[in-house]
Symmetry: C2
């Protein structure tokens, strides 16, 4: 389904798109991500250090002279501070939507998978604005591709576990394959536990980015890894 700017502009008020721009390689953007960015008046990006520059870098060929707004999204577990930042972003973008603007919020990977964009997305939806998600390739699919292997086959379940989950150990014993997201810093801690579980561990840092690094075995890892790390644990069947 192509997006048509004329059709969009007939709708009262603007539209907010959470746009997944994929894992890093600009060629892994979807045609829809490109066309949505191109029809947008304003490009919003999270400002949280490295993230911001990466999103703009991936999509740079399609942004050209568009207005860019940065939304403070600090990497903190202070829930009050985060809520305040999300509320600020919702307020700023609401004002633009009231003017009928089309706003694309860029997010790495897919917006429905651990994306901060969705807090803003939800806030705008609750205020009654038109919001849409443009899917992207999640980092764990890209990591498996870089490893030239599957995430899951046949009747195998796949368990996706974020680094901030409170009880990762309890899930390592589950039947099926596991993906550990953003566990770069703690990977050395879980490595020994993984070995006890008859699992094969592999890791990709910064999948499909220029500084991608592939570890066919967790034994190759010598120190904590990048925030953008995906660990794949496969059952040895």
């Amino acid at each position: 389904m192509a997006i048509n700017k004329e059709a969009s502009s007939q709708i009262k008020g603007g539209i907010f798109y959470s746009v997944g721009i994929g894992p890093g390689d600009p060629m892994l953007m979807t045609l829809k991500a490109v066309s949505t960015i191109e029809l947008s008046d304003i490009i919003a990006v999270p400002k949280s250090g490295a993230d911001q520059n990466i999103a703009l870098k991936i999509a740079k060929d399609y942004i050209s002279s568009k207005t860019i707004i940065e939304c403070d999204m600090p990497m903190t577990r202070d829930t009050n501070l985060l809520k305040c930042c999300h509320d600020n972003a919702v307020a700023a973008i609401s004002a633009l939507l009231e003017q009928g603007k089309i706003v694309s919020f860029l997010t790495l990977g897919d917006p429905t998978v651990y994306s901060t964009a969705m807090y803003v997305h939800k806030g705008l939806t609750e205020r009654g604005y038109r919001t849409e998600i443009v899917s992207g390739v999640p980092s764990f699919c890209a990591a498996a591709a870089s490893l030239n292997t599957t995430l899951c086959e046949g009747g195998q379940p796949l368990h996706i576990i974020p680094a901030s989950y409170k009880d990762t150990d309890s899930l390592l014993d589950l039947d099926g394959n596991k993906v550990l997201m953003k566990s770069g810093k703690s990977i050395l801690d879980v490595r020994d536990r993984i070995k006890q579980n008859n699992l094969t561990g592999m890791m990709v840092e910064c999948a499909t980015m220029e500084n991608e690094r592939v570890y066919k075995s967790l034994d190759e890892i010598e120190a904590g890894a990048s925030y953008f790390s995906v660990v794949l644990l496969k059952s040895n069947e």
Copy 2:
């Protein structure tokens, strides 16, 4: 990273690409899927009934006059028959790679997620041919986008469970959200079990295809659903 046909043709022997073409909407193909298909000499598709036509339909704008080969991939649990079909596909494609051809095997969604393409991919890799995976948007990401909701947030795990898993019930109790893949036929059977677990169930049939249907509640489902169904179960926190 752009793909360059001249560079590719300097490599001895051909290249086999497992190409994810996304969930259904041709606009959800990646730029890399499009360019890989365009540089290919031959397009391979699974022949298993509906699947074949859908893959060719999604990618039709980029295939034009290319040679298309069909690989028998019947929907059966007869492992001997399946192995025979995979071996036949590997043999047929090996012959093309020996001639230096570039072959793209089209697969719905992402090739690393429950794709039959990967049995052929693995067979060709084991025979020493150059094989690569081109990532695509998985159907469960597209389903969440159609529901305008997240798959997982913050510290929540996400459990992906295929319909053919032997003990789905044991996983419904797990902490975190769940995706049930291709469980259209059995959805009425698990619905009551789901209600007992303080979970909210939603479903999307044929996400982003022309005949997409969104169910905001499993109570809306009256009969078995399409093979291309994704059920999302979210914790009521």
